[in-house]
């Protein structure tokens, strides 16, 4: 691309772009694939971990090697179920228990939190009535409720689900309430002018315009649900990844502790990914509007 003068001769032009190929090694296969690029750093970290274990940089008694973790994990997943080895063969069962608790607790928090958030954000009267109570309850770390909840429900499934639902409710409700309060006034006026009665504004205008914040709130709530399921399983209920985590600690099985932590990480990541995909589908209208 060169510019020409009116007589047709080329205008000399300083070449300010540097030649990337000369500066950086060519890794076309890597640059071309975004998925592969995302795997580079995790792979390097894993390699570093294995290296430090096999080179003896860290004593194997405190940090097991990835290979040792994989071995213990494999037994936890596929080992025979015997009364002697408490963990052998229980991974799937424990994982399903944790997933079910998170799913149930989060679903309750999502439904109640979205509804309350919209009502609190949109109706000034409801906000004035409940604001102090919500702020007070929000100021209490959810885990502080643990003894009370166990006392109330006993060592029972309900205790874990209640803790998750209660804890995830507040960030969801407050995030949504703050956004609903910011509903653009012109959009509300436009809807009224086009014939929407004021009692239908919540559904017609406030909810759709708040939808991006709804998903932001749900994402925070989902993250918190995973925190709370682990706490509940460590302290209050039988079974689950948090329960396995704590049991492994009590018998000094660091490999199983790490296996449980990685399991939680994987499922946390997957559930978040699922939620983001879901948000992407319902926020089609927003594409290109943010974060392009």
């Amino acid at each position: 691309m060169s510019m020409t003068k009116s007589d047709g001769s080329a205008v000399p032009r300083a070449d300010v772009s540097f030649n990337r190929d000369a500066v950086m090694p060519r890794l076309d296969w890597l640059c071309a694939n975004r998925f592969l690029r995302g795997l580079v750093v995790p792979f390097l970290l894993l390699a570093l971990w294995q290296l430090s274990a096999s080179m003896g940089w860290a004593p194997s008694s405190s940090i097991p090697s990835p290979a040792a973790v994989a071995e213990g994990w494999y037994e936890w997943i596929a080992g025979p179920i015997t009364p002697l080895a408490w963990y052998s063969g229980t991974w799937l069962n424990y994982t399903l228990l944790s997933l079910r608790r998170v799913a149930t607790g989060f679903a309750i928090a999502a439904a109640a939190g979205t509804l309350s958030g919209l009502l609190l954000g949109w109706y000034a009267l409801i906000n004035d009535l409940f604001e102090n109570v919500v702020n007070f309850l929000r100021a209490i770390p959810t885990t502080a409720w643990m003894p009370f909840i166990v006392f109330f429900f006993g060592i029972h499934e309900t205790a874990a689900i209640t803790l998750i639902a209660f804890g995830a409710f507040f960030p969801i409700a407050t995030t949504i309430a703050a956004a609903a309060r910011q509903t653009p006034r012109t959009l509300v006026r436009a809807a009224r002018m086009l014939g929407t009665p004021s009692r239908k504004l919540l559904w017609r205008v406030v909810l759709p315009s708040t939808l991006p914040a709804v998903f932001a709130g749900l994402r925070i709530g989902l993250g918190l649900s995973w925190v709370l399921v682990i706490v509940a399983e460590m302290l209050a209920v039988q079974g689950g990844l948090g329960y396995a985590l704590w049991s492994a600690y009590q018998v000094n099985r660091l490999d199983l502790i790490l296996a449980a932590i990685i399991s939680v990480g994987i499922f946390g990541l997957m559930s978040d990914w699922l939620l983001v995909r879901l948000a992407g589908l319902s926020l089609r209208w927003q594409r290109g509007l943010v974060g392009q």
Binding site: L194, P208, W285
Partner: protein, 262 residues
Amino acid sequence: MNEFPPIECKSLSKVYRGIRGEQVVAFHDISLQIQRGEFVTLIGPSGCGKTSLLYMLAGFETKTSGDMLVDGKGIKGPGSDRAVVFQEYALFPWLNLRRNIEYGPRERRVPQAEMQVSVDGMLRTVGLEAAAMRYPHELSAGMRQRAALARVLVNEPKILLMDEPFAALDAQTRLSLQRELSRLSEAMNLTVLFITHSVEEAVLLGDRVLVMTARPGRIFADVPVSFARPRDPTDHEFNDCRRAIEDLLKQATNPSVGEYAC
């Protein structure tokens, strides 16, 4: 048929509370009538209460004193008989263009088939058939304002209230939208109140130009613009009128009623 003017204000005043609780008079003792099919442009310094007046007619704000009648009846809130076009378009970003235009008919429970026909017709009228499935943020400013116009006109309103609708558009787009609006308002026999900052726009579009004073706002001058359409901003006649209104706008800070006719 009733013969009430579509818009009538009698000694209308608006006072609202400022941020420190003080009373602010937006405008005071405004009386005006707008006849059926009339296109009235309203011009005045910033903060003279133009927008307040328009929002009160739309039913978004309440009056402080005086009377404000639409077709001889008091205003009880917003309604689709009084269409509003905002400067910032106010399209619903979560609905595609077609859905935005369908919003009014859906709220009025117009049967599906009938709605289909009128929305298609409206899309054609404003030249947006090809963009019907796009979302507002994918459109240019001019297309958005066209869509906003289509969204209200599909409800077949009698009154069109416009709050500086073309202020944010580039000159070319503004010109084409002004022409379209002129054509449509005449074809649909709309009664229009149009707020603008541009004297040229006021003269180009208006059957009458109202000039308001600075706060507290009053109607300073009511100038009939009688020469034929389509108007050419480069005409002598046009420029004389424009100069006269610019003078009036300058005087509008002095409290004496001006009179002038183009």
